[in-house]
């Protein structure tokens, strides 16, 4: 028996597997198809202060190795989330008898103050299953939104420390992948008091419908996710792990156990499944089983021993 429990900083998770924000709704949509007993955490879709309509349609295009999306963070405001979706999550699990995975609430805003306000509302909501806040400073689909925050280490640092101030809940910061070097961003989070970082968000991308000579997505550009981005994500996790001691929640193109194990060896404490669930909700179970098999075969008694266990020749 492999001990599957991990600590993502102050957040204890029953398994190292989470779901990635925006790919798993508000947590209950995949009931029946996903094996929730394999999940240590569920990250919900990005929430801001007020409801947000998102982008016009079409909002995605399939590409080799993944997809490009520009959903544009459609969502209810934080009030509606806490009044409707959070209780729904609670009751859904009461029926199944499965212990609900920790919920990580992904948030965003138009200003530093808005981020802080949303975070504090969530932290003060009192739902016992909400275990952390994930600050999305890196969504490529909303221009007035997270974009600038995530791409300037100084602004990022101010954002993180403002949100962190008096926040009684662990804070994860989700970083953008399209940077020359992740180090200053990781340091900005660390100095700002973040409890963990998550990596990576989608890579900015574009698909053109050559027959119509128009962008395939109404928003023109979007974010690339899926298999295609996995090797880039592993590199960023590896760099981030060497840059600081902040625990890492890694995501980007996990389609099989091997992909998740690569992330952990590179330094992640936990990993999140995203696009792969769309094509195969069974992937959650497959990855879980694959990790335990790997641990047994390699003599790891606890999955957390995988974190950073990459052997680097001098």
């Amino acid at each position: 028996m492999v001990d599957m429990c991990v600590d993502l900083g102050p957040v204890r998770l029953a398994t190292p597997l989470a779901t990635a924000s925006g790919t798993f709704g508000y947590g209950t949509e995949y009931m029946g198809a996903v094996d929730y007993s394999c999940l240590g955490a569920v990250t919900v879709k990005g929430i801001r202060l007020d409801a947000w309509p998102g982008n016009p349609m079409p909002r995605h295009a399939e590409v080799p190795g993944g997809m490009v999306n520009a959903i544009g963070l459609q969502g209810p405001g934080v009030g509606m989330f806490l009044n409707h979706y959070a209780p729904l999550y609670e009751t859904a699990f009461e029926q199944t008898g499965i212990k609900p995975p920790a919920m990580i609430v992904n948030i965003w805003g138009g200003t530093v103050e808005e981020y802080a306000e949303v975070a504090h509302i969530v932290a003060g909501s009192g739902f016992s299953f909400i275990k952390a806040i994930e600050c999305n400073v890196s969504c490529p689909n909303v221009k007035s939104g997270g974009h600038t925050f995530g791409h300037d280490p100084m602004i990022l640092n101010r954002l993180v420390s403002t949100v962190r101030k008096d926040l009684e809940m662990p804070l994860i910061v989700k970083l953008a992948p399209n940077v020359p070097d992740i180090t200053p961003y990781v340091k900005a989070c660390e100095d700002g008091g973040a409890d963990a970082i998550s990596l990576i968000n989608t890579i900015p991308a574009m698909v053109i419908d050559i027959e119509r000579r128009k962008p395939a997505i109404a928003n023109k550009t979007g974010g690339l996710s899926g298999r295609a981005i996995h090797p880039a994500a592993v590199k960023l996790v590896y760099d981030a792990h060497r840059a600081s001691k902040l625990p890492i929640l890694a995501m980007g193109g996990i389609y099989e156990a091997k992909d998740a194990i690569e992330f952990m060896l590179a330094g992640a404490s936990a990993v999140a499944l995203g696009s792969a669930i769309f094509s195969n909700p069974g992937v959650v179970r497959e990855v879980y089983d694959g990790i335990t098999e790997y641990c047994s075969r390699h003599g790891f008694t606890a999955v957390r021993e995988l974190t950073g266990a990459l052997e680097i020749d001098a």
Binding site: E29, P53, P64, M67, S279
Partner: protein
């Protein structure tokens, strides 16, 4: 909703580019309602390929069979074409909010191309409800040309009258499906007979049918066809504007009341 491993029982040609796929999928078959759909993982596509949504053409709880009627349009349906009896594929379902079965007056169903798929299941269920006593459903089906008029025999076998319109006049009325439909609506109105509209097909046709429901003050149930990612309400890719904001076709729909839709 579940993700059921389903075995292909039959895969038959239905004219140019159309095929009927029958699967052994007992759990989905017994839960399915008309207007709901399944989300199919096409076996030959790469791991990262999205699933493809198809309306449930027919579901039989007793035999555990789900049947899909699909058109080959792009690489997903091309790959689906290669699937052979005996092979297995994963299918999420039944998904979405289907057509209400209770209706006032004569059920008039308008379908275009593969849009007839959910209407067959709907007609069957309505007739089963009513025990076959009139007013029984009537189908109005449109297509570019004769080859696009699908499942005519299936509807005939149910005892559903089929009125046809083709753009090129190769079958039935020349023009859109609204030509025979408007004729029938006028006749029913003249007799003061109530009716309910159902539609599935290309956007233009859906809007035309929705308009007629609004004008006539009758119920109109419109099934929308939107590109999907997840099919279960988790991603917000499949948006339809409604009077109460951005709705998700996959879970708030695909069937919407004509009066809710914002075009």
């Amino acid at each position: 909703m579940l993700d059921e491993k389903s075995k292909v029982i039959e895969h038959a040609d239905r004219g140019e580019g159309y095929r009927l796929l029958a699967l052994y999928s007992p759990q989905i078959a017994s839960a399915a309602m008309p207007g709901q759909f399944v989300h199919v993982k096409v076996p030959a596509l790469e791991a990262s390929a999205l699933r493809r949504p198809f309306s449930i053409f027919d579901a039989d709880a007793e035999t555990g069979t789900v049947r899909l009627l699909y058109k080959r349009v792009g690489r997903g349906t091309a790959a689906l074409n290669a699937v052979k009896p005996g092979e297995e594929l994963f299918m999420e379902g039944p998904l979405g909010k289907g057509f209400p079965l209770e209706c006032t007056g004569v059920p008039l169903m308008a379908g275009g191309g593969y849009g007839v798929a959910p209407l067959y299941f709907l007609a069957k269920k309505i007739m089963a409800l009513k025990g076959g006593v009139p007013p029984s459903p009537e189908l109005f089906v449109g297509g570019r040309t004769k080859a696009d008029i699908l499942a005519r025999n299936d509807f005939a076998a149910l005892g559903v009258p089929v009125a046809v319109a083709t753009n090129d006049g190769s079958d039935g009325d020349k023009g859109f499906v609204t030509v025979p439909l408007d004729r029938r609506i006028a006749a029913l109105k003249a007799e003061n007979e109530p009716f309910t509209l159902y539609a599935c097909g290309p956007d233009g046709m859906l809007k035309a049918v929705a308009d007629r429901a609004l004008e006539s003050g009758t119920d109109g149930w419109i099934s929308m066809d939107r590109h999907m990612i997840c099919g279960v309400g988790a991603c917000y890719a499949c948006i339809q504007k409604t009077t109460s904001g951005n709705a998700r076709c996959c879970i708030d729909g695909p069937v919407f009341a004509a009066k809710e839709l914002v075009w």
